[in-house]
């Protein structure tokens, strides 16, 4: 019986694989092979050429960019097994997933859980088609790690709220169409006075100013709200439920920062192989500088066990039907290792690994320098390493509240 079921599964998987291959053969243009930036939804303007647009529409139309989301809201309605087939077949021909950004990574899953039917029907399909870009209105100048200290206030005006205040570190704010924000609707209770609402970025009274970072780029913005009208139907969940919903969204954010395809992609590029291009090797092909070689091996071993941990978290949460307790470790460890890796890459390349601009530097070299600088943010945003440590100590280890 079990064998029969397995072989049925096998047959349907084979059929689906064929379908994906046919789809790619028909729709994926050769000129996009091995292009595409998984982070495009976060740190750049939306400037598609017609070929890219066509590819996005083809994938989005099937819901394959959000394969596990329900079909009735524009998702693929596929199983995890089918999703793996899509990822595998796309990777094989060098095709990227054109559907991404914060709508996919954080907001969509949260709205599917907490939104009402009308909100889901309105907001999820455009995310699946990659038509709407979302940004996150969370941090404020005085609400970083202490996020619940946020002061942006929404006054109830009957059929709408009137919002005043300032958000900061709004990733991609200057390119976003809409913002999911947590704002205060009640000053009498720190946590229960917070509500989760959706704000149009082109509404009158919304002003966005990009912030230039040490990496020279401006992926973050300050966002000012001055008497911004937000219709009541844009409240997600109930008034005062914002902290619960907002925290749930952060779990999605953490999982995305630490895990998944982005880090696995970096794995392909062995630091040892890079070092062999920049540093002297002996007759046996080994790096002559044994101290450097040791550092590289040390980092790569820890990197490997991190990837194994990420895989284990997925397997465990699948088996337990909930979030694995080790997910709290992933963000902390993954971001630290990525920073260590960037630092080591500089040591490997020497001055050539510190270029700011100029044709004498390769694209990869310049990108890695900017990545090294921008990567310093990874242990700060999405709950800093110190906040993660508090979470692990209190929630996982049951150590009492510090004072």
């Amino acid at each position: 019986m079990a064998t029969q079921l397995e072989s049925d599964d096998q047959t349907s998987e084979d059929a689906f694989r064929t379908e994906v291959r046919q789809f790619l053969a028909t729709n994926f243009p050769d000129e996009l092979r091995c292009t595409g930036n998984m982070l495009a939804g976060l740190d750049g303007p939306t400037d598609e050429n017609p070929v890219q647009k066509k590819w996005r529409e083809a994938v989005g139309g099937r819901g394959w960019g959000t394969p596990t989301w329900p079909k009735e809201y524009g998702g693929g309605g596929l199983t995890k097994g089918q999703t793996r087939i899509i990822e595998h077949e796309f990777a094989k021909v060098g095709a990227y997933n054109p559907i991404g950004g914060m709508g996919v990574m954080m907001f969509g899953p949260t709205l599917l859980e907490y939104g009402d039917e009308r909100q889901k029907l309105e907001h999820i399909p455009p995310i699946c088609r990659g038509e709407i870009r979302w940004c996150q209105g969370y941090s404020e100048p005085n609400a970083g790690s202490d996020l619940a200290n946020l002061q942006t206030f929404a006054v109830d005006k009957g059929d709408h709220y009137l919002v005043n205040g300032q958000k900061t570190w709004t990733s991609g704010g200057q390119w976003a169409d809409k913002c999911f924000a947590i704002v205060r609707t009640d000053r009498s209770d720190k946590h229960k006075g917070i509500s989760f609402m959706l704000i149009d970025m082109d509404a009158p009274g919304v002003e966005v100013r990009p912030i230039t970072m040490i990496s020279g780029t401006s992926p973050f913005c300050e966002t000012f709200f001055t008497d911004v009208k937000v219709p009541k139907e844009n409240l997600v969940g109930k008034e005062g439920q914002g902290w619960t919903i907002g925290k749930r969204l952060l779990q999605h954010e953490r999982t995305n920062i630490s895990g998944g395809g982005r880090l696995a992609g970096m794995m392909g590029q062995s630091l040892g192989d890079i070092a062999k291009k920049y540093c002297e090797t002996g007759g046996d092909g080994a790096l002559v500088n044994k101290v450097l070689r040791d550092k590289i091996a040390d980092l790569e071993i820890r990197w490997n066990s991190f990837l194994l941990t990420a895989r284990r978290a997925v397997e465990e949460s699948k088996a337990q039907g909930g979030v694995s307790e080790i997910s709290s470790v992933l963000k902390k460890v993954g971001t630290k290792l990525a920073q260590d890796r960037s630092e080591l890459l500089i040591e490997i390349r020497g001055f050539q690994g510190l270029g700011w601009e100029g044709d004498e530097f390769g694209d990869d070299e310049l990108e890695d320098v900017r990545g090294w600088l921008f990567g310093k943010a990874a242990t700060i945003y999405g709950g800093s390493t110190e906040v993660q440590n508090n979470i692990i100590a209190k929630r996982v280890l049951g150590m009492l509240d510090h004072q």
Partner: protein, 356 residues
């Protein structure tokens, strides 16, 4: 924790139950006090074999259960938590050598005896102070093996040795031409230098050129499983202690400096568990074993080293006393870290396997 089958869950629970009730650290204290060179309780090992633990990686045809390395690792981890002194790991490593390299005859002769606990066996590779397979001088001529092996685990209880010679692995029974010199190490378990002077030896002809390396990888993942249990036990004990100990009118667990240190150690322990379980699984699947075993033991070394040190530090003065158990873990930890490849050895091996 890796996702386990129902049989594996049962096995793990049985081992946990037995180790907690029948073999707490107090039992290791008794073994130490008895001062016997074999340094384990023969009745306890008989009980373990009775429960099938000595035959977990051995095929059913030879008296085992054929549950594989991940299953063996589950049991070894539980025994590591209570520092159970036994030749289970040594015998399982030796069994893996016979499985990989033995003839049908050798398997039929030895595996049932290992599975039943009747015979204790161990691997003898090192000739110096470090893991170094390139420096083996032991040689065999006319079926007689001659050489000196150093720091052999569980040598006193063993009646069968799997010995690395220049041209491969050999089975040597304890008897004529085999003499032991006890080496007392800090873990107060059984270790000895062994002089083989023309001892009767039978080659393990199978397994190819990589046999010794393959067996050492199995030794690495099993030792790493023991180390995982030890690291988990020290971590849990330390966490409990921090929640009880009061200074400055508050329990230590409320101090953020200690909370964050424990969060760091928890992250390390999480990484270690992933690496060790993946190493055991790699042996079962037969895919990427060398690399996975190197990562497993390297992570086990790194993390147990840190946790065993912090276990003492966070316990404060009481952690320094013989009356308290945490010091036993520290002393056993360093012996296992040195076994089958120290951290520097393993990093060098990882770099070589990766081509730099």
């Amino acid at each position: 924790m890796a996702v386990l089958s129902e049989e594996q869950e049962m096995l793990r629970n049985m081992a946990r139950d037995w180790a907690t009730k029948e073999s707490p650290v107090a039992e290791f204290r008794k073994v130490r006090a008895a001062g016997q060179p074999q340094a384990y309780n023969a009745y306890a090992y008989a009980a373990m074999a009775e429960m099938g633990w000595a035959g977990i990686i051995i095929p059913e045809a030879h008296g085992g259960s054929d549950f594989g390395f991940l299953s063996a690792g589950l049991v070894v981890e539980e025994l590591g938590k209570t520092l159970t002194a036994s030749p289970l790991v040594a015998t399982t490593i030796a069994a893996s050598a016979i499985l990989l390299g033995g003839s049908d005859e050798q398997k039929a002769k030895w595996l049932p005896r290992l599975a039943s606990g009747e015979t204790v066996a161990t691997l003898a590779v090192e000739e110096g102070t470090h893991c170094d397979t390139s420096a083996i001088e032991t040689s065999v001529s006319g079926g007689k093996l001659t050489g000196k092996k150093a720091f052999v685990h569980e040598a006193h209880g063993a009646s069968l040795f799997v010995v690395a010679a220049k041209d491969g692995l050999y089975l040597v029974e304890k008897g004529d031409g085999v003499s032991l010199t006890t080496r007392k190490l800090t873990d107060q378990r059984s270790h000895a230098d062994i002089q083989f002077a023309g001892a009767a030896a039978e080659k393990l002809e199978g397994g190819g050129d990589s046999l010794l390396g393959d067996v050492l990888d199995r030794a690495r993942v099993l030792s790493a499983a023991e180390m995982l249990g030890m690291a988990q036990a020290v971590f849990d004990t330390t966490l409990d202690y921090l929640k009880q100990r009061v200074q400055f009118n508050q329990v230590l667990a409320t101090f953020q400096a200690l909370q964050h240190r424990m969060a760091d150690l928890f992250a390390d322990l999480t990484q270690m568990r992933s690496a060790v379980e993946a190493g055991l699984q790699a042996v079962d699947s037969g895919f990427g074993v060398a690399r996975a075993a190197t990562i497993a033991k390297a992570e086990a070394n790194r993390v147990l080293h840190a946790i065993s040190n912090q276990g003492i530090q966070l316990h404060g003065g009481i952690g320094m006393t013989d009356e308290f158990n945490v010091g036993f873990y520290l002393k056993r930890a360093r012996v296992l870290e040195a076994s089958w490849g120290s951290s520097s050895y393993l990093k060098d091996r990882f770099a070589r396997l990766s081509g730099y």
